[in-house]
Every structure is written in C-alpha cells, then in structure tokens.
Amino acid sequence: MTKQLITLNVNGERSEIAVEPSWTLLETVREQLRLTGTKEGCGTGDCGACSMIVDGRLITSCLMLAVQADGRQITSVEGISTNGDLAPVQRAFIDKGGVQCGYCTPGMIVAARALLDANPNPTLNDVREGLAGNLCRCTGYTRIYESVLAAAEAARA
C-alpha cells in the first residue's frame, strides 16, 4: 500500500507523517508519535479508552483513520495538562479516588474534559450521560462521578 503524507495537530504540535491509509488515529498517535497515554481496550469503539477530542468533538480514536484526522485539531490525554500543571479534572480524579488501575483513565479524563467544556455545571445525571461511552471496570464509577462534579466545582470557584 502507498503511504500518504498527512499533518497531525496533536495537543498543539504539528507533525508531518507518512501513514498507511488503513492506520487508525489511535495507532498512529501511539506508534508514530509515541504518545502512548491513549489506550486501546477493544479496538471496536465500545470501551472509550482511546477517547480523543478532534475539532471539539469527542471521538474513539480506534475507529477514526489517521487520514481522516489530517489537518484537524486533536487533543489526547497528554494535552489536558498545560506545561506540567494538572488540569482541575486531573487533580479531582487523583484527590477523589477516581483512578484505580488507570487503563480507562486517559479516556475518562478526555471524555470528562469534553463534557465539562460543553457543560460546566453538570448534574449527576449529566455526568452519567456524558461518560456513558467510557467503560471502567475497577471503580463502579461512584468516585468518577464525584471526581467530575468536584472538577466542575473547582472550576467555578
């Protein structure tokens, strides 16, 4: 297969890379850019561990081809904190015990960021709706709900 040159704007950094047309955004970011924070849990868009934000929309990067992301603005978990300072949502997941094994966490953080960007004052039900595409097997979600609500509160303060 012939490789195709594309531009990926990930977390504000531009990279030109040659990709196979069949490569997913997930594997391209992980294997070519070596940004391994984003995880693959299923490869079929069911678990949300590979969540990224592309042009403001929450997507599962295992279902998007790298060529489809050409030139678009992409945020992965590595882009949530700025200059090493944790974002409120990250701080809240740490403090409220929203993290256990951590494999769903990058996707959860990205999905929570997308949720809070769209709705800075979510109710518990909003959080449960907003994270419904992200599976966590460790926490039972209780402390994830608390984390996201606490992050919203911290942002208001």
Binding site: F93, I94, G102, L124, R137
Partner: protein
Amino acid sequence: MAQETITRQEAESGQYRAIGKPIVRPDATGKVTGQSVYTDDIQLPRMLHAKVLGSPHAHARIKSIDTSRARMHPGVEAVVTAADLPPYKMNESNRRGVIFPKEEVLFQGQPLVAALATDPHVAEEALSLINVDYEILQPVVDPVAAMKAGSPLVRSPLGDVDRSEERGHVTLNVEEKESEGKPSNVASQMNFKRGDLEAGFAEADCTVEHTWRSAWVHQSYIEPHATIADYDASGELTIWTSTQAPFFIRDELAQTLGISENHIRVIAPEMGGGFGGKIYLYELLTAALAILVRRPVKYIMSRREDMLAATPAPFAQVALKTGMKRDGTLVALQAELVYDSGAFPGAPMLPGCLLVGGYYNCENLDIQGYEVLTNKASAGALRAPGAHNATFAIESHMDIMAKELGLDALEVRLANAVAEGDLLPSGQPYPRIGLRECLEAIADSNVWKRRAEVAQQPNRGIALAVGGWMGGLQPASAIVCLNADGTINVTVGSSDISGTNTSFKQIAAEVLNVSVDRVSVESADTKTAPYAGMSAGSKTTYTVGRAVQLAAEDAKRQMLDVAAQRMEAAPEELEMVDGEVRVIGSPDKSVTFARIGKWSTNFGAPFASIVGRGAMTTRKSAPGFTAQAAEVEVDPDTGEVTVLAFAIAQDAGFAINPMSVEGQMQGGVSQGIGIALSEEMIFDDSGRLMNANLLDYRLPTTRDLPPIETIIVEVPSEEGPFGARIVGEPSIVAGLAAVGNAIAEATGTRVYEAPFTPERMLRAMGKL
C-alpha cells in the same frame, strides 16, 4: 500473635498518623496524565510483534498445518507451530502446560500458530495465509449433560492435575478428589456432610428446593493480556507482563523452560486490571517465541482473542434444598453444585461448596460438588471465584424461606449467621469474622431504611444478600531501607493491583512515625524484590502488608540503635517523632532521620546501612464478609431491570486506606451488578462464543450504575497489619443474589437463571 484492637474513632482521633486515612495513590498522577507505562507502551530495539492464529472450532483434530505461504509473506520473520518448538517439560493436564496443541484442539480460540514481524499488520496478514486442515470432533458444551455416563469426552484422559494457581486465590486445608478410573468429563468431586439430613428436613416447617444457574462471565479488565519477552545472548530471560503474579510466572517458566529462577526476571509494569484473570497465561508462549528467534517479542491480545482464549469465570448450576423451622432456624441444607471448568481443570468448585453452606449454621448438611470439563476456554478466577454462583442459591433461599414463614429477611439471617468458632462445611472453625456486624451495618444504610416506603411502590423493591470469601495465604517479605536524606524506600515483590502500594507506604510511615510523603514503594520485579505470593485471594495487604510492618519495625530498631550510640542513651529511652529520634521526655535532644541516614551511608561512615527485613507466613486466614442491599425497578412491559440504589457494608478488619477500601467495595459491587443484569458469555451448540466483544458482552456503564453507598465495618483480624483483613474480593459476591431478591420484592417473580436479562424477566413474568 493477636494485634491490638483499634477502632475507626481511635484512628481518626489522631492515634495514628498515617494509617486509617484516605491517602491518595501516588500512581494516580501518571495515570491521569498518560505518563504511566503499561506493557503495550514498552518498545524494545529489534522487537517483533506476535500475532496468534486460534482455532475456529471448539473441538477438532489437527490433521495438518500449512504455513508455507505465510513464511514467504514479505516482512514475516518467523511462523511458529508446535513442531518448531523444542520439547519443553509440559504437563498437558494444565492449561498453562500447553503452548500449541499437537493433535487435539480443545476450545475455540486455542492458539495454534504464531506469526512474527516487526510490523504487527504484516504478522496479522500472515495468519490469513495459514491453512489448517481440521477433523471436526463433537464438541461437549453443556456441563450437566457432560457428566452423564455415555457423554462424548471433551478430551483425551488427564494426567496429574496441578492446582497451585487455584491455591493462590483461596487457601484451604481441603482438597478436591480427582476423578479416577473410567475416563469421564468429571475432573474432580467434593463432598461435605454433617449431621442427619433426613432428620433435619423432617424437623423443618418450610422446605424450599430450586435449581439456580449463573452464566460464564469475563473479567473484562480494560487492558487485554499483554506480554513482552526478551532472551538475551547471556541467557537471561526478561518478561514484562500484565500480571498479578510475577514470582509465580518466574517459577513456572523456570520449570518448563529449564532456565534457573535467578536467570528469569519478571516485571509487572502498570496493569490495566486483573480481577483474578491475569495470573499466568501467554507468558510461556511469548517466552518460547523470544527464545526461538532471539529477539524481543511482544504479544498483545485483541479484545476478541482475550474473550475467546483467556480464562473467564465459569457457568455453575446449583441445585439447592433447604429446610427451616418456624422460629427461623436453618435445619437442613442439601446442595449439588456443578461448575463448568472448560477444557482444563481449574474451576472454583471447592469454594462454592464451602460458601453454599458457609454463611449460616446448619446442623444437617450434604454438599456435593462436581467440576466438569467442556470444550470451552478453561475457567479461571474472577474476584472470589465461584462464590457468587453459590451465594445466588443460598441467599435466594434465605429470602424465600423467610417470606414463607413470615419472618424478617434481615432477622432470619442474623439468627443463623456464623461467627468465630462456628464451623465451615469442611469442619474447620472460623477465626474472628464480621458477618453479623455487616448485617447490622446494612440495616443502617440509607437504602435499607427506605425498604418499607419502597415496598408501597409498584414494580420497585429493596432486598439484601450476604457474601464472603476465605482468602488466600502465601508467604510474603519486604525490605525497608533508610536513604541518606532520611527518606524511606520500601521494596516488595507483589503486583499493585488495587492500591496496595499506597497502603504499604502508610504502614511503613506509621511504624516509623514519619510523614507518608517520605516513604516510597517499589514492587513487582522478581530480580530486585524479595518474594511475595501472587496478588490474588485478597491477601496482599494481609500478608505483604504485615511483612512491610515487620521490615519497618526492624529498620526502626536499627535506627534507634544508631541514635542510642550517638546520643549516649539506651534505645528504650528513645522514640521516633516526625522524622526524628528523640529522647523520651526531652524533645530538644534529637537526631533527624537524615543524620542517621548519613551516618550509615557516607564515606567512612561509622554505622552500617539501615536495611529492615520483614518476612512472614501464616496459616490463619482472615475471611471477609459483606452484606449488600439493592433497590431495583422492573419495567413490566420491557422486562428491563434498573438498579436505582445500592449499599454495601463490608468488614475490612481495619481500613488502612479507607479510600482504597471503598474503591474496592464499589468496584466489586459494580461487577456483581453486571453479573446480575447483563454479563453473559453466550455459546452456541458447537461451543463457539457468540459475543466476543464489548458491545454484545454488556459491562455496566455509567447509565447502569447509581452512586454506591459504602459502609466500612471493622472487626479486626488476628494477624493482619493493624487488624486489616482481606478486602478485594467479598464485594463481588452478593450483588447477584441481592438484585435477584430485590426483583422478587418488586414483582413477586423469581428468576432462576442469571443474568436477569429483559428476555428472562419477561419469561419469568409470563409475558413471553
């Protein structure tokens, strides 16, 4: 030796500086930023990716394998079949004793061939060029039918069965009776008898008899199995793998591969969940490939492969008959438990047999268990393996009998519940346990208090169930070192699967009376850490935590000795306060930990380095119990069950880190609710898994789970650190029964087969 009894009030009143407090996990920062390194994140020079061809059939004879086209595929470095591997010392009676079967495929997805390439896509392409000629054999799918005389056999007869992995999850002084004589699909049996069953039932005012079934379920850790193996020119084998059991893997690999244990290094990087399912699976395969090609090999399972060919938790059928007197006394219990083991022995039939008669005193019982082989991926552990299946039966019966006799569901449980000294069905006495305390605590939950009010509302109901787990036992050890700057390093061999490293920090900080920030913990590397058993059986804090406590006490003694010599005081006159050693009563006379660190590390230092050693073993388990209350609503038209609220009370002995303990309680509850409502591996008549993905195998989502109310109960264990007992597993045990009981409250309908899908609900309600 008995630990001092402490209470939550004492812990919070400042008696303890580090334990009993919700300390945040230090590993959480790497996890929220994406910096933590999991196995698949590791990339080694010259590394090859392995892709594995699994059998499409559940039972077949391999007539031939043609790999010639695959070997020619550009970019393929090697294609490996059973014929390419040296004759390793394998025990084919065990799942882990087979890399690739030579003749007979025993379950769908069983690995047959591996293709290796630097590009994983190329390796994947190579698989499609392999041609395997099978003679399809009759698959044995239903374990109950498979027990009958004349059933076709699942496989050729077994040799000696090695049960060392199961013993890591639950350590008991009883053993299964391996089946002998005529070839049969029954791998093992177990029987417990007590009293006079007939007399017991004759005495009963209420007798209830039902058969309860619960489905195969998958651990569904979000990170599928992942392993890297590297065999270097000097003969050192290094394995990075997502495992709960680094030392177990090392020892097994050493035996099979003929490499000594000191030349094998197993490192468990961060792991994305295990729940009993990540002990030892494809590490041998990956190591064998790496040894063959002399390059690092990475094998990451796809979700589909993991669902097909890992070690899920089995289906069980429990036929139960119970008798109760009018006053609520349980007088007779007869059970037959059949656990599907898949193609290899290893089903958790034994703990099921113990627990079905292990929650309540009953003078007359007869419990018979069967472990039955079928052509499915072999059963492994899932958080208190086998417990939820048995608990579903007994806890449903308790509610049914209480209702028939007009007794209160909670009171009748309290009246029969086991306590210290009461006997397990095996005849062993319980150590100190907190089942009754959990029942009392759940009565105080917000969910249970709404029971009468909710009972008035149509299609809604609240009910409860109890659960428990014995726990595993294995020796453990730890090292505590003082650094030159006064900080503390703790080294342990266990994998951190549930925040245990954070608890170890707290334990060491408590003993040395220093801030938790001054302590760090390294774990899970067999070359640098002293031995620890597998992180399974909920025993890590109970055993390794105790070793950390002992090692910290040893380091403390050494530090006090140094300080005593320098301060010209007796060690008994000294105390540790806030990172200093002080003369008791004269706080101005002190030396800092940093001074002691320098005196024991600098050039020409007068004292030897401070290295505390802790090692322990115990034969005494610290079983953990739970009581759980579920509030459900059933849609009478669609049959859909919604969990509206859920509460769990669990005995943690002493919660070293209440935040971690609550996290374990909530996580286990969510898995219990999944087992109750939606999780089911569905096999067709030919033994093929119909839903090998996370869309059709439905895990609970945020839409399914309300916030879970937690109540920590603390009945101190006798030997755990500061009274801590097992925590991780009991939480999963009672959810299925609690939801089933709540459905009965809501609808008056019993569903005897889990999960309680809309279809099963509608059938049970007579609407389908």
